[in-house]
Each structure stands twice: as structure tokens, then as C-alpha cells.
């Protein structure tokens, strides 16, 4: 089975920001995205945990976006602008996919 190289952007960002992030992703040249839950963590502002919380503040989610290398820079710059003032982390990794035309 032949596989084809793509890029994967993973953004760990604050939950209150998710709506804005979605709005940007809706306009981006990508085929979609996937949202993953986070249960806790620790960063420069201390440890946090989703347990027991009622509001959105103090919680995080992960956006996973698989896309073509050709679009990476544009999408990255756009999304980076969203979280630049906020708590959040962006990583990029190499992945292989089976159906390259789907992304």
C-alpha cells in the first residue's frame, strides 16, 4: 500500500478559544480537522485539571489538522495569529496517509 507524505498540525489551546479557532479553520484550505479532549496539564501558569470544572476557562482542547505541505505555511500563520496572545502550543509533525487526495 503506497503512502504519501503530509503534515500534521496539532494545536493545544484554551477551550474558550475553540470557537474562534473553528472559525479560522472553516476558512482554511484544509479538508477538515479533529478535536481531541485534554484532561489536564502543567505549564508556565501552573498545573490544571478538567476535573470538577463547570466553566470553559481553565480547560484545553486539541485541534488536529492533516494537510498538504504546500498549504502548511499559510495555515500555520493564520492559526498562529489566533493563539498568539493566548495560552497554547502548536506542533508540526510528518505523517503518511493512504489517500492523499482527501486532504
Amino acid at each position: 500500500m503506497k503512502t504519501h507524505p503530509k503534515k500534521e498540525i496539532r494545536i493545544i489551546c484554551e477551550l474558550p478559544l475553540a470557537g474562534r479557532m473553528r472559525a479560522h479553520l472553516d476558512r482554511a484550505p484544509i479538508s477538515g480537522y479533529t478535536l481531541l479532549p485534554v484532561i489536564g496539564g502543567k505549564g508556565s501558569e501552573g498545573a490544571w485539571s478538567r476535573e470538577g470544572l463547570v466553566g470553559d476557562a481553565g480547560q484545553m482542547v486539541i485541534f488536529l489538522i492533516i494537510l498538504d505541505e504546500a498549504e502548511l505555511q499559510a495555515v500555520l500563520a493564520d492559526l498562529y495569529a489566533v493563539i498568539t496572545n493566548q495560552i497554547g502550543i502548536i506542533t508540526i509533525a510528518d505523517v503518511e496517509v493512504v489517500r492523499p487526495d482527501r486532504f
Partner: protein
């Protein structure tokens, strides 16, 4: 007053809060799963909204009610300014941090409202059903005032969408929606669903306060290094100041003592759901550890444990 405080301190809801708080400080994990905590919070709003609506159903719109609404709006516009000024005196915070904290203290905490109404109920002190509507109304305006105080010069459009996001916050919508449904269905609707929304209410509140206690303690443990003595004093003094302002307005508008005690509690309480999320969007430079720790870790426990009985005692003493 001391007797009142003791009765409050020894009531199951407060004791479960203390259990959550102390157990969590000792290292036990007493939080509820997030899905359950969110649902219990929704339940509390649905229940008090509905009860308030039913209480209003018979009475229609009265002048008293509009006066009380007016009092709530005035308070939630002025309290952030007072908080902002007080913070300026007490602590070397940045302008944006002060504005964000001010937004929390201008807005309200529903669970504090719930605790106060349970206290009043168990003491047989009446208050009007429309006070719930005032709670809903007081959630949002402080945010706008705080944005102004922060000197926010963001593009208009984002500001507007933010206002929508806050007004559509599920806590506001459920509270208001359940109020309207209660007003529509009245006593008949109440008879049908009271075994769910009235009978177990206080017990569910205990469970929720166990969680809130644990979250408050965790917040203090994680967030205390962002606080300084000035801030901690602020978290204790601001509720007293807000409650006094509310008492003055209650006196001016001739409110009965029950309503006044509720208004004082609303004024003294600080938001922990809608406003923190709004601040992360509107004032991301403000440090969330500061406002969350102050609101949930300092002011909420103080209101719950000693504030509520004190406000009630004052209201009964000053007002006819």
C-alpha cells in the same frame, strides 16, 4: 447574627463545601467528573430559574420588580468601577488584570445565589421570584464596563461577537429560559416536575458544593503564588463593599429585607463561569490564575461561610 452564622456554618451544604475544601487541601481528589459538575450546575440553574418563574407567574410585572431590575443594572455597572479603583489602591496589578478582576466582581455567582436562597428558605425569610431574573440580568453588563476600563481598543466586530457569546452562555440561557418556562407553566408545571427540581435540590447542592470546595482548594494551591496580600485582602473586602452598596440601593428603593439580602449576595458574589471564559477571549493578556483564584478560592468561600448570614442579618437590621 452569631447564631445565624453558626446555623449557616453547620448546615449540610456548607459542611460539604468544607469537606471538599479541607479534603482537597489534605491531598484527596474530591472533584466530580467534569461532565457531572457541568450537569449539576445546569440543574441548579434550571431549577432556580423555573422556581423563580413560577413564583412570578401569578403576580405579573410590578413596579417593584422594575425597581429591583434597575437596582441590579446599576450595581453591575458601578461595582466593576469600584473594584477597579480599589484594586488600583491595593495591588500593583496591570490595568488589564485589574479590569478582568473587576468584571468578575461586577458580575454574579449563581451558586452563591442558590446558597443564599436556601438559607433564606430554611429560615422562613421570603423573597420574590423575580430576584432570579435580576441574577440573570447582572451576569453580563460588568463585562462591557470592564472592557471599557481596560481601555480595550479591539476591532468592533470581535467585541460584538463577544457580547453575543456571553449573552448566549448556556448558564444565562438556561436560567432565563427556565424562568420563562416557569412563568408560562406556573403552579401546574411545578406540580409535575417539583419531585425533580425542588425535592432533591438541597441534596444535589451538597454534592455540587463538595466539588466546588475541592476546586476552590485546588485553585488556591495552584494559584496562590499569583496572589499577594493586597489581592487577598481585596477578595475579602470587596464583597463587603459591594454588599453595602446593594444595601444602600435596597434602602433607597424600599426593598423588603429578603430581596435585599439576595441583592446584597448577588453584588458580593463574583462570577466563576461566564466571565472567566469571556475574559480569556476579550482580555487574553490578563492572567487567569489571578481572577479565578480570587473569585473561586477567596470570595466564594467567604460569601458562603460568613457572607450570606451577615448580609441577611444586616438587611433585617437596617430595613423594615
Amino acid at each position: 447574627m452569631l447564631q445565624l452564622a453558626a446555623a449557616n456554618l453547620l448546615s449540610p451544604p456548607v459542611l460539604f463545601f468544607v469537606l471538599g475544601f479541607a479534603g482537597s487541601l489534605a491531598g484527596s481528589k474530591l472533584t466530580l467528573p467534569e461532565a457531572v459538575a457541568k450537569t449539576l450546575s445546569l440543574y441548579l440553574m434550571l431549577s432556580i430559574g423555573f422556581k423563580g418563574g413560577v413564583a412570578v407567574a401569578g403576580h405579573g410585572l410590578t413596579g417593584e420588580m422594575f425597581a429591583a431590575i434597575g437596582a441590579g443594572v446599576v450595581l453591575s455597572a458601578l461595582l466593576p468601577v469600584a473594584a477597579f479603583a480599589l484594586l488600583g489602591l491595593m495591588s500593583p496589578l496591570s490595568r488589564v488584570d485589574r479590569a478582568a478582576v473587576a468584571a468578575h466582581y461586577g458580575s454574579i455567582s449563581i451558586v452563591t445565589f442558590v446558597a443564599a436562597s436556601e438559607t433564606l428558605r430554611s429560615l422562613g425569610v421570603d423573597f420574590d421570584g423575580y430576584m432570579v431574573a435580576i441574577a440573570a440580568i447582572m451576569e453580563t453588563p460588568a463585562i462591557l464596563v470592564a472592557l471599557y476600563l481596560a481601555g480595550s481598543n479591539r476591532p468592533r466586530q470581535e467585541g460584538e461577537s463577544l457580547f453575543g457569546e456571553v449573552l448566549l452562555n448556556s448558564s444565562v440561557v438556561v436560567l432565563t429560559g427556565a424562568f420563562v418556562i416557569g412563568a408560562i407553566t406556573g403552579e401546574k408545571g411545578m406540580a409535575e416536575i417539583s419531585p425533580f427540581i425542588v425535592d432533591p435540590f438541597k441534596g444535589i447542592l451538597c454534592l455540587f458544593l463538595l466539588d466546588m470546595g475541592a476546586v476552590a482548594a485546588r485553585g488556591i494551591a495552584n494559584g496562590s503564588r499569583f496572589l499577594n496580600p493586597g489581592l487577598i485582602v481585596f477578595g475579602a473586602v470587596m464583597p463587603a463593599l459591594s454588599a453595602s452598596a446593594a444595601l444602600a440601593i435596597a434602602w433607597l428603593t424600599g426593598m423588603p429585607a429578603g430581596n435585599a439580602a439576595i441583592l446584597m449576595t448577588l453584588a458580593a458574589s463574583a462570577s466563576y463561569i461566564a466571565v472567566p471564559a469571556a475574559m480569556r477571549l476579550a482580555l487574553p493578556e490578563a492572567n487567569p490564575a489571578i481572577y479565578l483564584t480570587l473569585s473561586l478560592g477567596i470570595t466564594f468561600p467567604i460569601n458562603l461561610v460568613i457572607g450570606i448570614p451577615a448580609y441577611l442579618a444586616l438587611a433585617r437590621w437596617i430595613l423594615p
